[in-house]
């Protein structure tokens, strides 16, 4: 299907997952991502796959753990409060080196928060979230088409490196409709699943999927081995897009929904004669540190724009590494900034140059 269809982000992600070979989906209702479950419950039976509504987000992520342990492509989706409940499972999945995909359609927090779009779970997504030394690969689409493309990518990254991959959108991306096309999925690539617990058939030694290692040296070795895989992911999979950065004095950094609003502000600033640029991280972990560091050699200041009280700004500061000032502009609690607010901030910063 290469023609364009009009779809909600949540539904597009679900369809893309099915086309990526996801055979099992375990869900639990929570706004604003419930359409992923609803779509899966309709489509999975048509493609000989499984949709199962779990008794909780905790159960859903543990069902993903079980399904992934057999080598199958499995997925769950939720929104902020539900993702908090999944942290235990995510830590175990990372510790047991299981590939899977988790959709997080972020809403305002903390607590029950609200149901409008937010980016206030950046820390949770990119700094571990659960206990222990681990990372999720975090992909941040900014259009519905990119929701599709990154879902395809997410399953491959998960299988290639045996890691859980999170697609982090927000309520806007989940609910918004845009025309999308579903490119043919490349099914020719296969991944090693010799570790999977799908029964021995009395033909091989047993496999164990586990994250418990009582001997500290053994645990340390395994954690460092995983860290090497993370280094490889950082080297091979880091992605970002940049616009007008070559001669930019003021460089905005923004991801997801707000990157589109920021782009609008950058264009308006350019029209006013202010040399503004934009870096849009596509992978939030690994963070596009090098891309930002390169631009920091010539830029005069940076502005991190987020739908939070300022979380990614710390990673921007680490990447800029003191080469120039890094400022922040954000709205939170489900409020999406309009271009004018961001433009006002750019103008204010331009006066300091």
């Amino acid at each position: 299907m290469s023609e364009k269809v009009l779809m909600k982000g949540n539904e597009a992600i679900a369809e893309a997952a099915i086309r990526s070979g996801c055979k099992l989906f375990f869900g639990y209702p929570i706004t604003p991502q419930t359409e992923v479950s609803a779509y899966m419950s309709k489509r999975m039976p048509q493609v000989d796959g499984l949709y199962l509504q779990a008794e909780s987000e905790v159960a859903a992520i543990n069902m993903v753990y079980g399904a992934a342990a057999t080598g199958a492509r499995a997925m769950t989706s939720s929104s902020s409060p539900g993702i908090s409940l999944k942290q235990e499972g995510l830590s175990y999945i990372a510790g047991a080196d299981l590939p899977c995909v988790i959709i997080n359609i972020v809403r305002g927090g903390p607590g029950l928060g609200g149901i409008q779009p937010a980016q206030s779970d950046y820390f949770q997504a990119t700094k571990g979230g659960g206990h222990g030394d681990y990372n999720l690969v975090v992909l941040a689409p900014s259009t519905i088409q990119e929701c599709v493309d990154l879902t395809y990518k997410a399953f491959d990254i998960a299988d290639q490196y045996r890691v859980p991959v999170m697609i982090m959108g927000d309520g806007m991306l989940g609910q918004m409709m845009e025309p999308v096309s579903f490119p043919a999925h490349d099914d020719s690539v296969t991944f090693d699943k010799s570790w999977a617990c799908n029964t021995t058939g009395m033909k091989r030694k047993k496999n164990i999927v586990n994250s418990l290692y009582i001997n500290p040296d053994e645990l340390e070795n395994l954690v460092w081995e995983r860290q090497k895989r993370y280094d490889l992911i950082t080297e091979k999979e880091t992605r970002a897009e940049s616009f007008f950065c070559e001669d930019a004095d003021i460089v905005l950094v923004a991801y997801g929904t707000i990157a589109r609003v920021a782009m609008n502000a950058v264009k308006k600033a350019r029209a006013m004669g202010i040399k503004a640029g934009l870096i849009r991280p596509i992978t939030l972990w690994p963070f596009p540190e090098q891309e930002i560091a390169n631009v920091a050699k010539t830029a005069k200041s940076f502005l991190s724009v987020e739908m939070s009280t300022g979380q990614m700004v710390y990673d921007v500061k680490l990447a800029v590494n003191g080469k120039c000032p890094v400022e922040f502009y954000g709205r939170t609690g489900g409020v999406v900034p309009v271009p004018q607010e961001i433009l006002d901030k750019i103008v204010e910063m331009s006066k300091k140059l």
């Binding site: 199962l52 905790v58 159960a59 543990n62 069902m63 057999t70 617990c197 586990n210």
Partner: protein, 250 residues
């Protein structure tokens, strides 16, 4: 020379970490014998839980998945739904199954999930050193009920078989004990029935095994068996609570 007795093939050739007199070893053996007799070792995936039996992934020869505390029935659901024609079992203790994992247990049962749950009830958290379990008896002294379990503050013990037998998805709920030869034989028959029902896709199968914890009860292995008979059995009567395969119980 003919071999008259040997280790079940489905039981790994490694030493157990269990304390002297603990009945986990007996139950492991029974599960392994059943896997052998039904020729299921190569068709099975076992789920190890958190607690004393956490290392059961080292003791069974089938593929083993270790689950987070209380989540074994959810993990088993994931394994089973990905492989509907394979055999999936969990091996869980009382804290795992009836405290932190109550929701997962109840919902796996009510979904009629085609899995077998082997539930070890010894009225105590063993691995962490003897704290009150959801199944601890009224008045029972543990590390966290030093004055005995009081109903005013800690409520009453929870009965697993009675609970899951209320749910339509449960095909078998049976309570057995491993305190003497007769009961051990009955325990094995119950486990075998549970696995058989699973292969027949009858639904959720649940075998509760009354077990001992001499270390944390502060009793000798022999005194422990007596304590089980005198104190646990009145609260947890042995018997079949539900059997969808039995005549008149369908």
């Amino acid at each position: 020379m003919s071999i008259v007795f040997e280790k079940p093939h489905a039981l790994s050739d490694v030493g157990f970490h269990y304390c002297p007199g603990c009945t986990h070893g007996i139950v492991h053996r029974l599960v392994a014998e059943v896997l052998d007799e039904l020729k299921l070792e190569g068709e099975a995936v076992g789920i190890a839980s958190v607690g004393c039996s956490v290392f059961s992934y080292n003791y069974f020869e089938c593929d083993m998945v270790q689950a987070a505390h209380g989540r074994a029935p959810a993990v088993a659901t994931g394994v089973k739904r990905a492989n509907p024609d394979k055999v999936v079992f969990t091996y869980q203790g009382d804290g795992d199954l009836l405290a932190i994992g109550t929701a997962e247990t109840i919902h796996a049962a009510t979904r009629g999930e085609n899995i077998t749950v082997v539930f070890i009830n010894n009225c105590i958290y063993g691995m962490t050193g003897g704290q009150m379990a959801p199944t601890s008896l009224v008045g029972q002294v543990t590390q966290t009920t030093p004055y005995g379990r009081k109903t005013e503050t800690q409520g009453w013990p929870i009965n697993g078989c009675e609970l899951v037998s209320q749910l339509e998805g449960t095909a078998l709920a049976q309570r057995v004990a491993v305190n003497n030869v007769k009961n051990i034989r009955e325990a094995k028959a119950a486990i075998k029935k549970a696995f058989t029902y699973q292969t027949e896709k009858k639904g959720f199968t649940f075998v509760e095994v009354l077990s001992t914890c001499p270390t944390n009860w502060g009793l000798s292995p022999q005194e422990s068996l007596k304590w089980m008979e005198e104190n646990m059995m009145p609260q947890y009567p042995l018997g079949v609570y539900k059997d969808k395969g039995a005549k008149g119980d369908e």
